[in-house]
């Protein structure tokens, strides 16, 4: 009896296990048959871009007899997941992401350089190519770029302000007339926002990193904590809660655009991603460059670039290189991605195509003319948090000198 039970159980168990294994080994075989010898390309992108890429890559796959698979990974996890799987020796062949990831991806050996011919490079916006160049190597192929601009409600403020002082005067007037409750919607929040304050910081004379002889950012020359940065933060403090009340910590990423679309402020500092909400709210708006301080330098917003990367640990690097270097450089894909998420294409030819139907794009590009490429060096990661907090503290009324000096020390301490 006992032996028989054990035998029955073991037999069934083995049968079950065997059927499980059979299922496993059948699957890839079935997949392989239609495309006989063809290779497979795996692309990681965020949800929006996945949808835009799908029809395009299917065409690419059919034309070339290969299988292309686009996998959606949420944008906030994409970089980290990619680095993690890459260090285990697996992961996708191609990744799509912001250009300021490059520093971290390179130090983790996760991406390979891309070799573009000179003609291919000249087809792109010059700033975009500069953004994806790191240590003298081109690490990605850009497809879109973005920067901050001043979006204004033309019913409230018909003229684009030339300087911050103009803007403040107009805002105050509107406030006195009870047409708005806030002068300027520039997101700060409790821990500050280095990205959004950067145009004002540069206009007031501050800088983050110096540049080396070949134009790269130099992590050894840190501008935060230097006298220029203290002077810049003094000007920012004058606009803060204890000063003009133009910059406020109560305006944060969560409510900045909503306050503008609710007509509570006439000016919004934001990027191309905000225009969809503004349009939906039915507001008449115009886009111009973020103004600088009167008598100061030009306000320089950060220019960020979205780019395709070739994974260093991919299974199919040759195909990935082919896709990134020879297909992403064509305007069709840039157009498809523009339809999914309206950011100015980095390919000049694609930009020219959409310019006429979407006048905002040209205005955003114009607003980014003075822009500086968002540093991709790993040291930049040390800037965001301390710099933002110093900004929030200064806007809240803290002493600029001691605050910025302390922030500079913290940043210098965490740069290796």
């Amino acid at each position: 009896m006992r032996i028989r039970t054990a035998g029955v159980v073991a037999l069934f168990a083995l049968a079950l296990a065997a059927s499980g294994c059979g299922g496993d080994s059948d699957e890839p075989a079935a997949k392989d048959t239609p495309k006989a010898a063809g290779g497979k390309l795996v692309i990681w992108a965020d949800d929006k871009r996945t949808a835009a890429l799908k029809p395009f890559v299917e065409k690419f796959g059919q034309e070339n007899g290969v299988t292309v698979e686009v996998q959606a990974v949420p944008n906030e996890d994409l970089q980290n997941n990619f680095v993690t799987v890459s260090s285990q020796g697996g992961g996708p062949d191609v990744v799509i992401g912001a250009h300021d990831w490059i520093g971290n991806l390179v130090q983790n050996g996760a991406i390979d350089p891309v070799q573009l011919s000179d003609e291919q490079k000249t087809a792109f916006n010059e700033t975009a190519v500069k953004a994806v160049t790191f240590n003298g190597q081109l690490y990605g192929v850009p497809y879109a770029q973005e920067n901050l601009a001043l979006i204004r409600n033309t019913e409230l403020a018909p003229e684009a302000p030339k300087t911050i002082e103009d803007l403040v005067a107009t805002g105050k007037q509107l406030k006195a007339q009870k047409k708005v409750t806030e002068t300027l919607c520039l997101q700060v929040g409790q821990k500050g926002d280095a990205y959004h304050i950067y145009p004002l910081y540069t206009s007031a004379g501050g800088y983050l990193f110096g540049t080396t002889a070949n134009g790269d950012y130099d992590p050894k020359d840190l501008g935060v904590g230097k006298p220029e940065s203290i002077a810049a933060f003094k000007k920012i403090a004058a606009l803060g809660e204890k000063g003009e009340g133009v910059l406020k910590r109560s305006i944060a990423d969560t409510n900045s655009t909503a306050t503008f679309t609710g007509k509570k402020c006439a000016f919004l500092v934001s990027g191309p991603w905000a225009t969809a909400d503004v349009k939906k709210a039915g507001i008449k708006y115009d886009v111009s460059a973020v103004p600088g301080f009167a008598g100061g330098k030009a306000a320089a917003p950060f220019v960020g670039v979205q780019s395709f990367y070739v994974a260093a640990k991919g299974k199919n690097k040759a195909l990935a290189q082919e896709f990134v270097a020879n297909y992403v450089t064509k305007p069709d894909l840039a157009m498809a991605l523009y339809q999914a998420d309206p950011r100015p294409p980095a390919l000049t030819a694609a930009l020219d195509q959409v310019k006429s139907s979407d006048p905002d794009l040209a205005k955003f590009i114009e607003a980014g003319k003075n822009g500086q490429v968002l540093p991709a060096i790993p040291a930049m990661a040390a800037i965001w948090d301390p710099f933002g907090k110093a900004e929030a503290a200064v806007i809240g009324g803290a002493d600029p000198t001691s605050t910025v000096t302390a922030a500079g020390k913290t940043i210098a301490g965490s740069i290796k």
């Binding site: 079950l16 296990a17 063809g38 390309l41 050996g109 350089p113 109560s250 409510n255 195909l319 948090d385």
Partner: protein
């Protein structure tokens, strides 16, 4: 947010033994051996053991492929032991204990050991892989196109079978029809006329060679990327499947000196096994490092780094205040409401209970964000409703009060629920007896109800305390640690140890997993000591009242 995370569910895994019929004698050994085998029991056994075997075989293939023999041995031994245990009729207690124990090892012991072992390394961004990985990354990222050299249209071809034959590059000199064939031996010109050149300059056919199409070529991806055709100025490499360029690896590893040399600048970086990076004489490091053992340095850094040890004590005190405040506050409020609803004179208790449980039913993640917006100075509901202009998250004490208030709202329904349950278990005769003895309501609550309640709820309070001690979301989704002193952006007034260390380990230049693991071991030690003391006191209490 006081849900204890550890669950007893894992221990409830059904052992593959069939249901024992009630009334059958279970005490004697012989009786158990002759217990009837039911069809359901047999089926459960077959399915569960089948699953075990299936999972084991599924897990074995990757282990064999990666040559992880220790892992394979553990897998085989565990599966064999499971089969031995559940196919035999002996070892009944073990049958009940093993599933829980296995889950405990897999989900508790192994992660803790892994964390502990990580704490002794420099694992993190820039130090993730092995030294060989770093060398490959340094060399391949230093391949630069030879200045002034053109890019060549490329076709991949072979003399043999497209799937296995040795590959060659067929490249066309740009603007001409001159075709050369390249392999690891170098570049040789092909006879004019032997190859057909397409419109883009790509070779479409060549005598004696099979030109691979995209599908065939991409299946040979690795061979193509590995094929390097030496030339005078450097080497021809593929850039995708249709172009080749003349490139040169500027940096190369030299095993002789265990260093990386740059042929352009002549600079060398020597491997430093202590820090896991190539370091130049002037102290410059190459970004691509590797993982090494760093001994106790992560721990000493926690203790000696002024930035960490300086604000540590203040943070620890606030951390305790937060955990005690959240747990105590929710407990008191929840218990008071439970007492009020427990009163026999109360009407409509079901409606009240339903309404009171609502906060518990909503996702705390979303609720924390809603609360954060409600505390906004200019646009927040709280200031607008009461006509205040308090900068809630801008001042230390108001920010602390705000996060505790949020915790109170999120956590009291849980305490209300468990207190209601515990109250119903206390016989009413006891309190009635005290009132007969002439005790006041307060005295009877103080002397009878509360102690009995605490006996039942102490373990829950301890687990709630341990959970709140590390309640990352409660801070990170509301204040993010703010307000920060103007001169120290790394430690804020509402920072818990866990949010503070998260910022230290991941907020700076890059993720530092080794360092983070070291800090989490410190936090683990603190929570473990607090819990151990609390449990000991609970046991003494139980001895008094049980």
């Amino acid at each position: 947010m006081s849900t204890p995370l550890s669950g007893p569910e894992s221990a409830q895994q059904a052992p593959g033994r069939g249901p024992v019929r009630t009334g059958s004698p279970r005490t004697s050994r012989t009786a158990r051996n002759h217990a009837p085998i039911t069809a359901a029991g047999l089926a459960a056994k077959v399915i569960l053991l089948g699953l075990v075997a299936g999972i084991a075989i599924w897990a074995a293939f990757p282990l064999v492929a990666a040559a992880k023999w220790v892992g394979l041995a553990v897998l085989v031994l565990t599966s064999a032991a499971l089969f031995y245990l559940y196919l035999g009729r002996r070892h009944v207690p073990a049958k009940y204990l093993i599933p829980g124990t296995l889950f405990l090892i897999a989900f508790q012991v192994v992660p803790v050991l892994y964390t502990a072992s990580t704490a002794f390394t420099n694992f993190g961004d820039g130090h993730r892989g092995s030294k060989d990985d770093a060398i490959v990354a340094i060399q391949s990222s230093s391949v630069k196109q030879v200045p002034g050299s053109p890019q060549y249209p490329l076709s991949v071809a072979t003399k043999g079978d497209p799937a296995t034959g040795a590959l060659v590059f067929l490249i066309t000199k740009p603007g001409t029809d001159t075709v050369s064939v390249g392999d690891a031996g170098g570049l040789r010109p092909l006879d004019p006329g032997a190859a057909t050149v397409g419109p883009g300059g790509k070779v479409t056919a060549a005598d004696g060679y099979t030109v691979l199409n995209f599908g065939q070529a991409s299946a040979r991806s690795k061979d193509i990327t590995d094929l390097v055709v030496p030339t005078a100025g450097g080497a021809l490499r593929s850039s995708g499947l249709s172009r080749a360029y003349e490139g040169k690896a500027v940096r190369a590893y030299d095993a002789g000196c265990d260093c990386v040399k740059d042929s352009d600048s002549g600079k060398t970086w020597t491997a430093d096994g202590e820090v896991g990076a190539f370091v130049a004489a002037d102290g410059e490091r190459l970004a691509q490092g590797w993982k090494v053992n760093v001994g106790l340095s992560n721990f000493t850094r926690v203790l000696t780094d002024e930035r960490i040890s300086g604000p540590f004590l203040g943070t620890l005190i606030w951390n305790f205040a937060f955990a005690i405040g959240s747990t105590g506050g929710t407990f008191i409020l929840g218990m008071l409401i439970a007492l009020a609803l427990h009163s026999p004179r109360m009407r409509g208790t079901n409606l009240y209970r339903m309404l009171l449980i609502l906060p518990y039913a909503m996702p705390s993640f979303a609720m924390l964000l809603v609360w954060r917006d409600m505390f906004n100075t200019d646009f927040g509901l709280i200031n607008n409703l009461f006509g205040l202009s308090v900068d809630w998250f801008g001042q230390g004490w108001s920010a602390r009060a705000a996060v505790i208030l949020v915790q109170l709202w999120l956590g009291y329904p849980y305490m209300f629920l468990v207190a209601t349950g515990a109250l119903q278990a206390i016989p009413r005769e006891l309190t009635e007896a005290t009132s007969v003895d002439g005790a006041s309501r307060w005295q009877s609550f103080r002397a009878v109800t509360l102690p009995l309640l605490l006996v039942a709820l102490s373990p829950l309070l301890i687990s709630s305390f341990a959970f709140n001690f590390n309640n990352f979301n409660a801070i990170y989704l509301t204040t993010e640690g703010a307000p920060f002193p103007a001169d120290n952006p790394s430690n804020g007034a509402t920072d818990l140890l866990i949010t503070y260390t998260y910022r230290l380990a991941f907020g700076g230049q890059a993720a530092q997993f080794g360092f983070a693991a070291a800090i989490s071991l410190f936090i683990f030690a603190i929570v473990a000591v607090v819990s151990a003391i609390s449990f000991r006191r609970t046991r003494q209490q139980e001895e008094v009242y049980a």
